[in-house]
């Protein structure tokens, strides 16, 4: 969105003169800076888990997977579900920019339901894997990485729920969609991370 890229000093030029507000950069909006720093820290967190998984797989030499095969088809379907939720999230954002109330409401509800479906399937997969984090180090790394992602889905669902409440209260319109946009950026980040986790753990692993 073009408006999001406009520096705060330019965007608010019509009513604010003089030096920037306290604790407020004139070059980047607070919401953008916040989500930027947050996602960079999240990337480092995921990076640590990936590093642990690769290290354990190479060094420990455990049998992998410990029992049977990983349910690749289920995980791939789950990836498709999460990818679809990114599409509906984008639809929600476009609808918000066009002040399309139906699009916003249908989009955010569909996104939430797809996210909840992903989480349900993931938990169901855990229950039927046939091994636990205690089985061996590789299994611990598997549960650690996919569990970390699952925790992010839970946080994403909370953000989506809060966005849905704001949408249904009529608090989101083309002039007030920064909150929805930040939730969308976070949700897309969660989706990207699952694609990376799925490819490395289920396909390359």
């Amino acid at each position: 969105m073009e408006a999001a890229a406009i520096p705060a000093a330019v965007a608010h030029d019509d009513h604010h003169h003089g030096p920037p507000e306290a604790h407020h950069s004139s070059k980047v909006e607070r919401e953008q800076l916040g989500i930027l720093l947050f996602i960079i820290s999240e990337l480092m967190l995921f990076g640590a888990f990936f590093a642990a998984m690769f290290f354990i797989r190479v060094v420990a030499g455990d049998e992998w997977p410990p029992k049977g095969d990983l349910p690749i088809a289920v995980a791939a379907t789950n990836a498709a579900v999460l990818l679809s939720s990114s599409v509906t999230m984008h639809w929600t954002d476009i609808s918000a920019r066009r002040n399309n109330q139906f699009g916003m409401r249908a989009g955010i509800i569909t996104t939430f339901l797809l996210g909840a479906t992903f989480l349900f399937v993931q938990i169901n997969e855990y229950l039927h894997l046939g091994f636990t984090p205690k089985t061996n180090a590789s299994a611990s790394a598997f549960f650690g990485l996919t569990g970390l992602h699952g925790a992010h889905v839970v946080i994403g669902l909370l953000l989506l729920f809060m966005s849905a409440v704001r949408i249904f209260k009529g608090a989101v319109d083309p002039k007030n969609l920064k909150g929805l946009e930040v939730a969308g950026i976070y949700w897309h980040f969660v989706d990207v991370m699952w694609i990376v986790v799925f490819t490395t753990v289920y396909i390359l692993g």
Partner: protein, 59 residues
């Protein structure tokens, strides 16, 4: 009043190239850009999966 050069179009300077760090964080600047990143990562993953499947079929 414009800030840029007002000479002939052929003499205008090309737009400044974004620094690497700015291009790296570009997907985080807007929901549109983030969605574009999702599509690009998904396309790259599909490519990797296709290669892996082909290699497993051959070997």
């Amino acid at each position: 009043m414009t800030d840029g050069p007002t000479g002939e179009p052929g003499n205008q300077e090309p737009p400044a190239k974004q620094p690497v760090w700015a291009r790296l964080i570009a997907p985080l600047r807007s929901e549109d850009a983030a969605f574009g990143a999702v599509l690009r990562v998904a396309a790259a993953a599909l490519l990797v999966i296709a290669v892996v499947v082909l290699v497993r079929l051959v070997t």
